[in-house]
Symmetry: C3
Subunit: 185 residues, 3 copies
């Protein structure tokens, strides 16, 4: 209902703007949606890198699906447990005479493309990661790839309904040959 | 309620604005423009890295200019052909006992600064690239630099009219000594 | 005029939405604020990397505080002088048979999370840096970490009131074990 009203208001605004070319420009008016999704994308990464399972799971819908190197995980509760399980993998440290401080794996997002259809959105973005899990705690690029996301606006809040993570350092998770972004005409 | 007041206040601010503080804050109201340009910037990079010549060319105006390491290219049609030509360079692989999967060159954008003047905009941003064109398909940073862009809103859609790509690994494409972003006062 | 119509339409949409779920979605309506802060974040980095002390200091309030590896600096004037002092450190080059062009240190921001409370905001984000201060001018990752920012809107313009820079390559500036982003419920 709220979207209907918003759409009506937007239509009114457009109709009162002679010569408006909004028809050619479907994202016009989606600035608020983009701002919220960028915030969500960023919160996801803080949660991942600090292994904050609750905050990570909270970026998915109840029925959200995470498709990553570890498998396909269905539902927010299972995703929460998945992150708890990740911790062991993320926290591996060198045995023996290891550095005195823990290594820090950090993931970065960039190149966010969004297409909207009402309360649904399709997202595409790049990611890469830095790590320093070596004797000298020296940073290096330890992986990169892209995200293919589906999002839904639930109770006014954008959440992931599906996130598939492509990863170029894993032969079975690399991108296909076709641009995952569909060109709009 | 707070939003209603905000909207009303915004309406009031606009209607009363001869001497509004917008003068001190020229981007206020440009959230939609920024959202669209960030989307454009991201689509450009997906098109580049997947060598999608049509999608790449579609980010430029008909008379758009691309100024990159390969030369200065004038017009959307020539830019499309340029990307078709890039493919050969991007797809070079190791001869002989090469890895079984192709290398993946990926470009990332960050630090986007935008200044607007009606349907024209000046953009500044950083870029860097990752590559894994080596025996072990191990990622590394293979270049970085910045963009100096001019954009125009054509039929309601932001497009590049000129993109100049500075590249710190090429001695003749490095940045000058002066901050390419003009400070607003 | 266009802004007035949009604001009026927005006011209409809000006023007709008794059961709006905006309460669950505090960032709704903050698209303009986010756009401005992203622009500010980017201008900060251009100013830093080109050692533009005036532009750098202009991203802070008069009473702004910079908390970085070099110490805690209070006030815009002191911050300006701090950047003038950084120049010496940033411009160090190899002695003897150094490359003919200066090295280029570049900082990138990503993963921006923002929480608003009126004219105040809390920001969290990641950063990393690339450098090529070696014989071959070959790029590499030379540092990474995160920002913890406080911002205030002064005369309609968002500025940093405090920026604390965490840096994973400095043992006394690394992040703590707890997610610096507070989950919203």
């Amino acid at each position: 209902m709220r979207h209907l009203i918003f759409a009506a208001a937007l239509a009114l605004a457009c109709s009162m703007t002679p010569g408006s070319s909004r028809a050619a420009d479907p994202d016009r008016g989606h600035a608020a949606d983009r701002a919220e999704i960028q915030d969500l994308q960023a919160r996801y990464l803080f949660a991942l890198d600090w292994q904050d399972a609750d905050a990570y799971a909270a970026t998915f819908t109840e029925d959200g699906v995470l498709d990553w190197a570890g498998g396909i995980v269905h539902g927010r509760d299972a995703i929460r447990r998945e992150v708890q399980g990740m911790r062991a993998a993320f926290e591996k440290r060198e045995a023996g005479d290891a550095p005195t401080r823990p290594a820090r794996l950090r993931h970065f997002i960039s190149n966010v493309v969004l297409d909207f259809d009402g309360d649904h959105a399709i997202g595409r973005a790049y990611w890469f990661e830095l790590n320093d899990d070596n004797r000298n705690r020296w940073p290096y690029v330890s992986g990169y790839g892209h995200y293919e996301d589906e999002l839904r606006r639930v109770d006014g809040k954008w959440l992931f309904t599906r996130r598939k993570i492509y990863n170029e350092i894993l032969p079975d998770r690399t991108a296909g040959p076709t641009n995952p972004v569909t060109t709009r005409h």
